[in-house]
């Protein structure tokens, strides 16, 4: 009897500990989710700006060659401008890829913990589809490398699966 009582006490303590750990986990996830929602705005801000500037620079590069063909600009001027643009494009592309990858990696973690904790995720399957379309367009415009595009595609598919899981659970 004494032996059984000890075992029962140990289980009670373990479950209480599990409850406490769960509460800590839940509170921690909730706080992190909230902080992430707020931080997302800054990240989106920079991402949008970099994307548009990169698009503009790539477009300008394309137009410069055409302007040379049409006799609107001299070869010297086009070369000078292209040199300037190439440097800027490389810098923006690097920033764009890094930020987008980091953003999607965190988003996947965010959805994963929403699924685990039972918190509602602020993303829908439609949002993921939009991002996939955006990725296709970015690949066509050569804004991201093939390698980064593959990594992003994989993360986006994982995000979609996680969201599906969340809906099934909900």
């Amino acid at each position: 009897m004494e032996h059984l009582r000890e075992q029962l006490e140990r289980f009670r303590e373990s479950f209480l500990k599990a409850e406490e750990l769960w509460n800590n986990y839940y509170t921690f996830v909730k706080t992190t989710v909230r902080e992430w929602e707020a931080f997302r705005i800054d990240l989106l801000d920079r991402l949008s700006e970099v994307r548009v500037k990169l698009e503009t620079d790539l477009r300008t590069t394309e137009e410069l060659s055409l302007k040379l063909d049409l006799g609107l600009l001299s070869e010297e001027k086009v070369k000078k401008k292209l040199d300037e643009l190439q440097e800027e494009i490389a810098r923006l592309k690097e920033e764009y890829q890094t930020l987008w990858l980091a953003y999607e990696e965190i988003t996947l973690m965010y959805i994963t913990h929403c699924v685990k904790s039972g918190l509602p995720a602020s993303l829908s399957a439609g949002d993921i589809e939009e991002k996939k379309e955006e990725l296709k367009s970015a690949v066509n415009k050569k804004m991201v490398s093939e390698e980064v595009a593959q990594q992003l595609e994989k993360i986006l598919s994982d995000e979609a699966s996680m969201l599906l899981h969340l809906h099934e659970k909900g």
């Binding site: 929602e37 705005i41 989106l44 548009v52 500037k53 503009t56 055409l66 302007k67 006799g71 995720a121």
Partner: protein, 260 residues
Amino acid sequence: MSRATVCPGLYKDEKGKFYCRFADNAEIDPAFMPCLLEYWECPFYIRHKQTEKALEVKKEEIKQQEAPPAIVPTVEMPTLIVSPTEVSAERFTDEVDRLIDRASELARLWESYESEARRVVEEWEELRDKIKRELAGLEAVINAYISEKGRLEKLLDEGKISEEEYTDLNSRLEKKLAEKNSEKEALTKKLADLDRVVLPHYKRVKVAEAKPELAKLRLALSKLEERFKSRSISEEVYMRLRAELEDKIQRLEKIKEEVE
């Protein structure tokens, strides 16, 4: 009386730098001052004129005070060494020489002005492109905020976030949106200020080449049409470049009309 085309206070040293007599001989850039435009509205010119007038009035007063009683003197006329015709011819020769000098100086000034104005116009065109790119970036951020606001409202409606969370995130967004809108407004204003200052110079230097430039642009436009018809360029590129060319043509046509 018609006015001179260049401010009489403007002069140039051997190195080609410009100075203003009326601004204590300070170095100036005529491209940014009205020396070659409505210089009579320049504060330095106005100040100089006022000082000149005040001095004349003072001189007149002193003259009147010092003037002896009005007695008509019997002055013996000096003997003329040269005949009146010779004096008049010499005077005209001097005046012509002086005018030739002034005209030559004017040509030099115009040449300097024109090359400086061309540089300014070229830099203006480049800077305009950069500002427009910056504005496009700001526009994208503003649109991202607006769509984020819509998403937040949707989340609130669906009960995925609490009222408190919504208020907090929405106020952050509102603040950032206001910041970006004011940045955009300030930059747009700067661009308009820049256009206002540079456009008169643009018009002046482009007048001479408006006709050949128009021909060049029209030729480029027709080549562009051909490229599009043969599908060697995308519709997006075609539309954008066409709009740019048409805008330039319209601007030059306006300048040409104003001159004619």
